[in-house]
Symmetry: C2
Subunit: 593 residues, 2 copies
C-alpha cells in the first residue's frame, strides 16, 4: 500500500544549486561528478530503491531474521538476491577510494544514495551502511597489509563489515569492556568475550564478514585507555585472498526488537577467535571514532530517511482521503467530502514535515561536503576548517535529525488517523524502524554531551565561533534585502539565541559540569534549529536567484518562510530551559523517584 | 522483566489532600467514599492489576487475538480467566448507578481504577472501558425498557458493549455513514452495513455483546442530521433476560496493528441484523456524544497510564544500570561505574516524566470530579459550571495527555538505551500501545478543533472566562507568598499567554476560520500547559500546608517547581506559532507537496 519515490528533484537542487558541486571540479573525484552524472546516479539509485529494495521492506518487517540451530542466520526472503544485485551494480563503490576499486565520487553524493536506500528499506540499508563504516575504520587505522587484504572486497560489498562495541555490562561506557585479547606467537590474538546488539553480526548475504572488535589485551590499563581494536574475520583470509578456516566466533542469538526486523541484531560470541590488532595497542578508541563519526552522520540521515518516506505517504493520504468540508467552504463540491489536505491542522503537519525534511537534508549534505573537503581540498586552511565543522556538526545531525525525524514520521502516521496504526498502510513500520536511530551509535543524550563537553570547546571554540561569523556574514550582507527579510530576521534571532546559550554554557558549565549536562539537550536542539535556519536562509538566497518559471523555487522560499515563522519559535523555549541549570533537576534523591 | 505498581500514594494525595473528596460527603455516593474506603479500593485495585492483569500484558502483545474460521475470536491466553475474575470481584460496578446494581462511588475514583488497569494492561482495560462507555450512552439515551434489559448486565460486566461508528469511507466525518436501518413492523430495524475498527466487536470474554451502532434510517436526511443510534445485541435478549437467537452480525476480520494486540479490533458486518432505536430518530449523534465525551477522558487517562508504567520502569533502570561516572565525580566509587540516574540528561527525562504524570493525573481527576458534581451536586449553579468545565477540559485532556503521554513513554524508552528497543524490557510495547491514544475517539487534531471551534465559544465563552477568573483568584490570593512565588509567577505568565492566545483566536478565528484551524493545535497545547501549571500551583499550596516530616510533600513542591521552570517555557513557543495564522500554512498548492 505505501510507496516510495526518491526525492530526486530536491537532491538535484541541493547538489546543483545549493552546494554547487560543479564548482569543486578541481578536487579529486569531483571532476567526474558533473551535474549529468549526479542526475544519472540519483535516478538510477532511486529506481533501484523503488523496484528492488522497497518491495522487500514490509516483507523484512514481517519475516524478520531467523537464526538456525547451527548459528547461521537467514535474512528475509529476497534480501540475498537484492544484495547480490546491489553489489553487482556497484553501488557500494560509488564513494570508495579508487585504489580499492571504488569510483571515488563525493561523499556528499553517497549520502544521498544512503538516504534513498534507507528510505526504501532501512533494515536492508544497514548492512552496506555498517560495512562502509567498518571499511573506513580499517582504511584509516589498519596496516597496509590489512588494507590490501580486506579493502577491495569490503569496498565492493562482497564482504560485509561489523562494529563490535557493546557488551551486556557496557553500552555507552566502553571503558567497562571485558572481552579479552591474548597475544599469540604468530602476532595474532585470541579474542574471547561476548558482544551484543551487533547489527549484521551474522547473515547469509556475503561470503565473509569482517568483524571489528574492541577488546582488552591481557594486562592493559583499566578503563577506556586499555581498549584495543581487532579485525576478526568470520573466515580467515589467506595471503592470496582465499577463504580459509571458519573462525571461533558465532552468533549466539538474535534480539527481538521494536523495528528493523530485517536486520539481524546479534549476540556474538568470540571463543578464542583469531584476530589481528588494528593500529596501536590500547588506542582502539581512536580508530573506532573514525568509524563512529561517519556512522553517526549516517544515522542522522536514517532518521531523515524515515521522515521522508512517511511524508510522501502522508501527502498521498491527505490528497486522497475525503473527510469533512473545508472550514472555508467546500473545495471539492463534486465529491462527498473534501480531501483532508484542505484542513489547516493537516497542512500544519505536512508543512512541518516538509520544512524539516528539506532543511535537514540540506544540513546533512552540506556537512558531508565538509567531509570531502577535509580529505580532498588542496588548501590546508579549508581542510582544517572542514574537519572542525564535521566534528562540530556530527552530534547535532545525529541527534537533531533523528529526534525530529521520529517526530515527523509520527506526524505522518497521525495524518493517516486509524489507518496509520494498522500494518497495512506501512506508517507504523516507518515509526518503529525510525525509533532505533535515537539510540544507536551513541544515544542522543550522548550526542548532546559530546557537543557541549567536547566539540564546543575544541580548539578554544574555533569551530563554533567560525560558524557564528559565517552567519553574521550572511546577516550583514543581506540585511535590507526585502525579499530575504524573514530569513535575515530569523537568522538574527536564532544566532543571537544560540550565542546566548553558548555564553551561558561557557559561564556556567565550566564551574559546575552538571550545568553543562543539564543544558546539553536543549543546547543541541537550539543548535539544530539555528543550523536549519541558516540552511533555509542560504536556500532562500539561491532560490531567489534561480527562480523563473519553475515554481519549485517559489515553493522553496515559501517552505523556508514557514520554517522561520512556525518552527523556529521553539528556539526560545530551549534557551529558557537550558538557562535554568542543574539545581532543580538534580535535587530529588534518587530513591524518591 | 518490566514491573508495575499502582501509584497509590500519589492517588491518595489527589483524593485526600488535593480534591479533598471527604468534603463532598453530602453528595450521593460520596458519603461512602471515606478516605479509608478509597485507600482500600486503590490498594485492592493495584493488587489485582499487578497480580492478574500485568502478567498478561506481554502475553497479549505476543499472541494477539485470533479470528477463527467461524468468525469467533479468541482473546490471548489468560484474558478470559482474568476477565471472569474482574467481574466476580465487582470492579466494573464501582461507579455504576445503584439502581443497576452498582456501588455508585465517585466517577473520579473510577478514573483511578481505569488508570491502574490501563497501566497494567491497556489492551485488556479497553474491554471494560468500552463497555462502560456504551452503558453510559444507553443509560442516557435509552428507553426505560432498554435500560432495564441491558443495564444491570452491562454494569456488572457480564455483558460487554461496543461503539460502532467508523466505516471504511468515514472516520472523523460521520455524516458519510452508509449503514442502513430499515424499519420493521414490530418496531425493530434491520441493520445492514460494514463497520471497521470496532474494539472488542467480537471476543470470548462475555456471553453477550451489546453493540451500539450508528446507522441511517431509510429516507433520513443526508449527512450528520440523518444518523440514528441503535442497540444491536449479539444474542437477542428475551423479556425475561434470557439469551435467544444469534443476531445477523459477525466479525469479518481483525486488524493487524502497531499495538494493543490483546484487544480485538474488528471489522463488523451487519447483514440485516435486528436492532432497536435508541432515543429519537436522526438524533443518534447526541447520545453518541455522551459516550464519546466519557470515552475521551478515558483515552486521555490511557495516555497517562502508559507514561506511568514506562516511567516506573525507567526509574528502576536508571537506578540499576551502571554506566560512566557522574560529571561531578564518582558517586558510587565501590561500583565499576555510577548508576545512570546521576547523569543530568537522564534526570531531565525522569523529571520531565514525573512532572507531567503527576500534573496530568491531578488534571484528569480534578476534571472527573466535575463529572460527579455535574450529576450529583444539589446546587444548580455548581451543576452547570461543572458540566461546562467538563466539556471545556475534555478535548484538552484527551489530546494533551496522549500527546505528552506518548512523548514521555518515549523518554522512558530512551533512558533504557538499546534495551528500550528490545521486546524483553517491555518499553517498546508501552510506546506502541500508547500510540493509538493520539488517534482514536477523535484524533488529537479533532480535539483541538473541538476546543477552539465549539468549546471555547459555548455560552459566550463562559467556561473559559470562569477558568481565567479562577486562576486570577489564585494569583490574587497568593501574590506575595514567598513560598508560592514560583507558582504564582508561573501561573501569571501561563494565564496571560493563554488569555493572549484566546484573544487572538477571537479576533482572527471568526473572520477566517482557517486561522482558527491553523492555531488549534498550538492553542490546545498552550491550554494544557496552563492547566497543568494551575494544577501544580494548587498542589504546591496544599503541600505547603500539609508538609511536616513526610518528604512526599517536599518532593511535590520540588517537582512542581521543575515543571514551572523547565516545562512551562514551551507555552511561549506555542503562542508565537498560533499567532502566525493560516496564510503560510495554506499557501502551497495541494499538488506541490
Amino acid at each position: 500500500m505505501p510507496r516510495y519515490d526518491a526525492p530526486v528533484r530536491d537532491m538535484q537542487f541541493i547538489f546543483h544549486d545549493f552546494l554547487s558541486l560543479q564548482n569543486y571540479s578541481n578536487l579529486p573525484g569531483f571532476e567526474e561528478a558533473t551535474p549529468d552524472l549526479i542526475d544519472a546516479v540519483l535516478e538510477e539509485s532511486g529506481k533501484f530503491a523503488k523496484d528492488v529494495l522497497f518491495p522487500l521492506n514490509s516483507i523484512g518487517d514481517e519475516q524478520g531474521c531467523v537464526r538456525n540451530s547451527d548459528g547461521s542466520v537467514k535474512t528475509p526472503d529476497g534480501f540475498k538476491e537484492a544484495y547480490n544485485s546491489f553489489v553487482e551494480n556497484g553501488w557500494p563503490l560509488v564513494n570508495k577510494a579508487p585504489e580499492m576499486g571504488g569510483q571515488g565520487l563525493p561523499y556528499a553524493l553517497s549520502m544521498a544514495i544512503s538516504e534513498i536506500n534507507s528510505s526504501a528499506n532501512m533494515a536492508f540499508g544497514m548492512y552496506p551502511g555498517l560495512t562502509s563504516g567498518a571499511y573506513e575504520a580499517l582504511m584509516a587505522g589498519g596496516s597496509d597489509e590489512q588494507r590490501a587484504m580486506y579493502g577491495p572486497k569490503m569496498a565492493s560489498g562482497e564482504w560485509a563489515g561489523t562494529m563490535n562495541l557493546t557488551e551486556p555490562q557496557c553500552g555507552t561506557d566502553l571503558g567497562l569492556i571485558k572481552t579479552k585479547a591474548v597475544p599469540q606467537d604468530d602476532g595474532s590474538y585470541k579474542i574471547t568475550g561476548q558482544k551484543i546488539w551487533i547489527s549484521g553480526g551474522e547473515q547469509d548475504l556475503t561470503e565473509n564478514i569482517i568483524h571489528l572488535v574492541l577488546a582488552r589485551i591481557e594486562g592493559a590499563p583499566e578503563g577506556i585507555k586499555g581498549i584495543s581494536l581487532f579485525v576478526v574475520p568470520k573466515f580467515i583470509v589467506g595471503e592470496d585472498g582465499s577463504l580459509g578456516d571458519r573462525n571461533e566466533l558465532s552468533c549466539g542469538g538474535l534480539e527481538e526488537k521494536m523495528g528493523i526486523h530485517g536486520n539481524a541484531t546479534c549476540v556474538m560470541n568470540y571463543d578464542g577467535a583469531t584476530g589481528w590488532l588494528v593500529g596501536e595497542e590500547n588506542k582502539g578508541m581512536r580508530t573506532m571514532f573514525v568509524m563512529m563519526n561517519e556512522a553517526r552522520l549516517g544515522v542522522g540521515v536514517q532518521g531523515l530517511s524515515q521522515a521522508e518516506i512517511a511524508y510522501q505517504n502522508s501527502v498521498d493520504f491527505a490528497n486522497d482521503r475525503l473527510q469533512s468540508r473545508s472550514l472555508a467552504g467546500p473545495q471539492a463540491p463534486e465529491k462527498p467530502a473534501d480531501p483532508i489536505i484542505v484542513h489547516p491542522d493537516v497542512r500544519r503537519m505536512l508543512m512541518d514535515q516538509k520544512a524539516f525534511i528539506e532543511g535537514a537534508r540540506a544540513f546533512a549534505y552540506w556537512t558531508a561536503l565538509f567531509g570531502d573537503l577535509h580529505h580532498k581540498s588542496p588548501d590546508e586552511e579549508v581542510r582544517q576548517k572542514s574537519d572542525e565543522y564535521m566534528a562540530l556538526m556530527t552530534p547535532v545531525i545525529k541527534a537533531f535529525l533523528t529526534d525530529r525525524g521520529y517526530k515527523m514520521a509520527n506526524e505522518a502516521l497521525q495524518i493517516h488517523g486509524g489507518s496509520g496504526f494498522t500494518k497495512e498502510w506501512g506508517l507504523e513500520q516507518f515509526v518503529r524502524d525510525c525509533r532505533i536511530t535515537l539510540i544507536y551509535e551513541g544515544t542522543n543524550g550522548i550526542q548532546a554531551l559530546d557537543l557541549v563537553g567536547r566539540k564546543l570547546a575544541a580548539n578554544g571554540g574555533r569551530a563554533v565561533f567560525s560558524f557564528f561569523a559565517e552567519m553574521d556574514d550572511f546577516i550583514g550582507t543581506h540585511e535590507g534585502n526585502a525579499e530575504l527579510e524573514p530569513f535575515v530576521e530569523g537568522l538574527k534571532s536564532a544566532k543571537a539565541q544560540l550565542q546566548d546559550g553558548t555564553n551561558w554554557l561557557m559561564q556556567n558549565g565550566m564551574t559546575d559540569f552538571n550545568n553543562a549536562g543539564a543544558a546539553s539537550n536543549d543546547y543541541l536542539q537550539l543548535f539544530g534549529l539555528t543550523a536549519l535556519t541558516y540552511m533555509w536562509a542560504l536556500m532562500a538566497k539561491v532560490s531567489l536567484e534561480k527562480r523563473g518559471d519553475d515554481p519549485f523555487y517559489d515553493d522553496k522560499i515559501l517552505t523556508g518562510k514557514y520554517y522561520v515563522s512556525r518552527v523556529l519559535p521553539e528556539a526560545a523555549a530551549h534557551l529558557a530551559k537550558l538557562k535554568t541549570g542543574a539545581e532543580l533537576m538534580m535535587a530529588l534523591p534518587a530513591d524518591r523517584f
